[in-house]
Symmetry: C2
Subunit: 339 residues, 2 copies
């Protein structure tokens, strides 16, 4: 079984393999630079349902279904699913999984959910507690806008630091055996809150948490940024990305060569008028399950540090004047079990 | 490391020990039959804070602090904390842990959270991924009423099937070594939704999930209800408890001898006018961390099946006409590692 190699990191003894992955997305995702990486794109923002929330659940069902199909597996072959989303009481996940019989552990990690779900799924398999496990999450522009900001039809003006919640879902299936990529290390994040109170500036709120977790990965695994072909944070967007580069430079860590962010990859910020970039659980999930894992299988990258970030606020906490706690959960993905 | 012994259950190879436990509660909890089991009771429903939500976070901090104190441990001795609550985006947990440096995996399991958190914490320790881990959760009558139903000052009439959300928090610290009780088996729940749509009747909505998980425990571990000194579900209340007895009787399982429910234990339903009983994440958490673990240490029970239940609805899903998905996560607690 895996071994703790530092305060926050476990190196997996028998790194679980990615058996399959699937990403689904909506209209904007289909207009973006990663459009060819999606397994399914749907112009209907209701996904055939009556409400946006039900549509978000449908996206998760489609992502899970596609991932199972690509691995030639049935629901009964999956021992555990870890899932969560941004909706109050995580109804995107519970309603998506209602008609399955898969044992389910619900998570709340905001936009870091895919990192948290992958981490726990990998640990369960390495521990021998599950043969196969799924990591599943989603976000939806319309459900998130209504819940966190304003109903979409109001047409509110967005601030320059705002990000655009992805309408997307991603599912990654892990198993003990397979060709990979493999999850070789898992780093659990800590809550970091540097006092940012602007809910329209998630990048600045989450960047310190990303730095904390990335520094922990480097420290615990005795690696440096240059040891990875690619380092990708969750959905920090342009401002958060630049803050991470600056903050880690002060610690002597050079992030200028191989560091990107899912929030910068999903959309064309200029052409699609996305301000600081993409956000939402579905952002890092679909970029991982569409673009990154595909690129790893094609040999474009052999070792990727994937570190999605989450902002642990609620509209209530902001109304009450609280600052925004951030968190970041990281996994190391490698094309070899030793990597 | 632990071994899967059925579709939903893991038997832990080296059962983690309960190192310490702490329960804190509010006014009503202090008037109830378990008043002497709490480590701290506070008449101030704000817990010295400015808002109820901040008060709920304070309760979690107190529960964690008391549990650490009782085990003579510091925060730095805890490798992982699993926490969640009922508040939108689980702010009860993220704000309670903001000032700690403990790596944190956020959960959403509604009122089953203590079962889910204990399960994952136990698996992490058995897998060698953490030396010590905490399971932490809370609920607060005033935050829950405002979010799910009506602000408390409106004085709305409650239906006969309504339950009373506990103002309480519980924390249980687990470690690889210790005198116990021990967590010997973990059973992951599946979502069960039998079509109940009344959000004022959580007991009926969750009872089928409790039956599904309890039946899985008996099947996977090859045990019967009589093999336990006590079986306790989460917060089904009077109606849900009786439904479980009825439904399991149809499967030949006799639950009439040794089965109770945290929702029936926390309050005096008659004297405190609690209708169907208590509910909330803090209900099963404080009953476990106040009454049940204390009773096990005193030798009152040697083998307890603890199975908290959660209703995975949100006000939005109810407004949209959805029925209520339920879930139940179970652990077997024993005074011996073999138990």
């Amino acid at each position: 079984m895996g071994k703790r190699i530092g305060a926050q990191t476990v190196r997996l003894a028998h790194p679980p393999a990615v058996l399959s992955f699937a990403a689904v997305g909506g209209h904007m995702e289909g207009k973006g630079p990663l459009r060819d990486c999606f397994d399914e794109l749907n112009e209907d923002h209701l996904w055939g349902q009556k409400t946006w929330e039900q549509g978000e659940s449908a996206m998760q069902r489609h992502a899970l279904g596609k991932a199972l199909e690509k691995a030639t597996l049935r629901e009964a072959d999956v021992d555990l699913v870890f899932a969560g989303d941004l909706l109050n009481q995580c109804i995107g996940s519970s309603f998506s999984l209602r008609d399955t019989n898969i044992p389910f552990y619900g998570l709340y990690g905001a936009c870091s959910t895919m990192g948290e779900a992958l981490s726990l799924a990998a640990l369960m398999i390495d521990g021998g507690f599950a043969r196969r496990a799924a990591a599943l999450t989603s976000s939806h522009f319309c459900t998130a806008e209504r819940q966190y900001r304003m109903p979409v039809p109001y047409g509110s003006q967005r601030t320059p630091t705002a990000q655009w919640t992805a309408t997307a879902a991603g599912c990654c299936l892990l198993g003990g055996e397979g060709d990979g990529p493999f999850i070789t290390c898992v780093t659990a994040g800590r809550i970091v809150d540097k006092g940012v109170t602007d809910p329209n500036n998630m990048g600045a709120a989450m960047a310190p948490a990303a730095c904390d977790t990335l520094a922990a990965v480097f420290r615990d695994t005795n690696t440096a940024p240059a040891d990875y072909d690619l380092i990708v944070t969750g959905d920090l967007g342009k401002l958060g990305h630049d803050i991470v580069v600056d903050l880690l430079a002060r610690e002597g860590l050079d992030m200028t060569k191989n560091y990107d962010d899912c929030g910068l990859l999903l959309f064309d910020r200029e052409a699609q008028d996305m301000h600081c970039g993409a956000s939402g659980c579905g952002c890092s999930a679909s970029v991982l399950c569409g673009y990154l894992l595909r690129g790893m299988r094609e040999g474009r990258w052999n070792r990727v540090l994937f570190a999605p970030t989450g902002a642990l606020l609620s509209p209530t906490s902001s109304f009450q004047g609280e600052s925004i706690p951030g968190i970041c959960h990281a996994v190391v993905l490698s094309n070899t079990r030793e990597g």
